[in-house]
């Protein structure tokens, strides 16, 4: 799809840049973990969560000693960080079970919504954005731009509510919430996914359409497009081969970042549609102050964000040879 890059393009400068971004990402993760620790063990009192707020003082003290919370904060901090390195993020207060397996299971459910949503956003935003740019100021462009503006303004939880009302309560076409029980047939499973996936896709869809449009508009005034037209290529070929391919460079970079926003949006959408993903787990934990789960979720989100940012950086350097000159 993209021009094969000569090995010469992989200059040391480019590698150095990526390594620098990688190190920087590790620093962000380190800070996020520290923040998570502070949240879990310094601001929130884990012992009170175990014994209840009105337990007698001696019981609290006994639990504190047993669970090791009477030791200096830095010892607990080192232990927490050591645990993280071994993939241990502590115990959930509510479920009294290790956080990590719970989190990973829920993450899988979240991916069931997030991946189709991002695919949907791409499949729609690329052609619509290109059309909107090529037929600038046409009715189609006008509709696309209005749609994108409204899509960015309307809160997804409200659209979710109205969709549940209309498609589930009123028309009865789709189930109102939840993930299909295990062992259901494909159609049932899909019917549970339709509303959350589409609504989760709306926000990135609106944003990506705008990006695609402005990106194509920027490219289309470049000299090489004029050259391509001048040498007699068909308009279709000029647009698809020359304009869109170059316009995709900023698009792909921002796409990686949008995936992170889908992660945030899924907290809202999963709560509205009672989907048992990581977003809903986090929302429930926030409401119940199940702090180890919040801390672990925060760390997980940080890791995913850093990886996506890194991916965006790498894509950008690989796709656009000009970046390495900087």
């Amino acid at each position: 799809m993209f021009p094969a890059l000569a090995p010469a393009h992989y200059t040391e400068a480019k590698m150095a840049y990526i390594v620098q971004r990688l190190l920087y990402g590790l620093v962000v993760i380190f800070f996020a973990l520290t923040l998570a620790f502070l949240l879990a063990y310094v601001i929130g009192d884990p012992v009170l969560m175990y014994v209840g707020a009105d337990a007698p003082a001696e019981v609290v003290a006994e639990y504190r000693r047993q669970l090791g919370f009477d030791r200096p904060v830095y010892v607990q901090y080192l232990e927490f960080m050591g645990g993280v390195l071994q993939g241990d993020l502590g115990q959930s207060y509510r479920q009294r079970a290790p956080v990590m397996p719970i989190l990973l299971e829920r993450l899988g459910y979240s991916a069931e919504l997030a991946i189709p949503a991002i695919i949907l956003a791409v499949v729609v935003s690329v052609p619509v954005g290109v059309l909107s740019a090529v037929r600038r100021n046409s009715l189609a462009d006008y509709l696309a731009r209005t749609g994108a503006l409204v899509g960015q303004a309307a809160p997804s939880f409200w659209i979710g509510l109205m969709a549940i009302f209309f498609f589930a309560s009123h028309l009865g076409w789709l189930p109102s919430s939840g993930r299909a029980p295990p062992g259901s047939d494909l159609l049932t499973r899909l019917s549970h996914m339709v509303m959350p996936v589409v609504i989760l896709a709306l926000m990135p869809l609106a944003y990506l359409t705008r990006i695609m449009r402005s990106s194509v508009l920027e490219v289309i005034s470049e000299d090489y497009i004029r050259t391509a037209r001048a040498k007699g290529l068909s308009e279709r070929r000029v647009v698809i081969v020359h304009a869109v391919r170059n316009a995709l460079i900023p698009y792909v970079t921002l796409l990686a970042l949008q995936f992170g926003w889908i992660l945030a949006g899924s907290m809202v959408i999963e709560s509205v549609f009672a989907w048992p993903g990581m977003g809903r787990l986090l929302m429930d934990s926030i409401r119940l102050l199940d702090i180890p789960v919040i801390a672990a979720g925060l760390s997980m989100v940080a890791v995913i964000f850093v990886l996506l940012n890194l991916l965006a950086d790498i894509l950008y350097t690989v796709l656009d040879p000009r970046v390495s000159n900087k």
Partner: protein
Amino acid sequence: MLTQLPQAEPGTYDDDLHQIAVKPRGTFYVAYKSLLASRVATLAALLVVTLVIVAVFAPLIAPHPPGQMHLTDRMLWPVWTEQRSNPTFPLGTDSLGRDILSRLIYASQMTLVVAVSSVILSGVIGVLLGLLTGYLGGFVDILVMRLADLQLAFPSLLIGLIVMSLLGSGVKELIFVVALTQWAMFARIVRAEVIKVRGMEYVQAASVLGASHLRIIFTHVLPNVVASLLIVASFTLALAIFYEAALGFFGLGIPPAIPTWGNMLAEARNVLLRNWWFAFFPGMAITVTILAFNMLGDWFRDYLDVKIE
């Protein structure tokens, strides 16, 4: 910046000269003309003005007090539907018999208070930190800017939800949370400008001539960032409104006794079976308001031709 020429006194100037001296238009006049030239921006500005008027004159406009319950008129439908309705409640009533239109109107007050206070608080914190880090550089700069990076690395709604649940719900808390997630945007812009300006020859000259730091800040740094700050401010307004709605929806925003659009949605969520109008109108109010501020922000960006990352 355009400044007004001294007004010519009649008779003191040569007549020809007097005729050429056209009064230059002020910055705001030019901006105003451009605003009117863009239909989208005009619409956005009209919506914002309407919102302000509605909020300020809420007691005069609203047909009923927002908390008044009409127990015999509960769950009335909007008047244009075929269902049970009452013309004094144009958009119907909620499950406690409170007029939805009146609640929408009063809720706009809280929306504006939260939005404007959040912008002011995050703007002040951001601008101060931006100036400080830009000027001092070194350790403070690294610390604050890494903090800003970290901040921007997380979905801000997640931070908002966690902090709100630890702090407890309330208006001040909500404003604090928005400022907490938005200061970094303001700080980055101001810091970049300080660093750019600090190296310029005219600023070094001003400094050599004995201009104080404050003078340099007010005459050389701030005028250059006003445009960018305005853009960030209008998007922050939209974001604050979204936050109020989202946190209210999850029961972590402003206490439920106060009518806000987010709280109305949260109440609607609990009873939504066929009472679609409970949720529809507050959602529309949120969408239209966010849309207006976003469109204004877009127009600012195009008009001032500023690039913001």
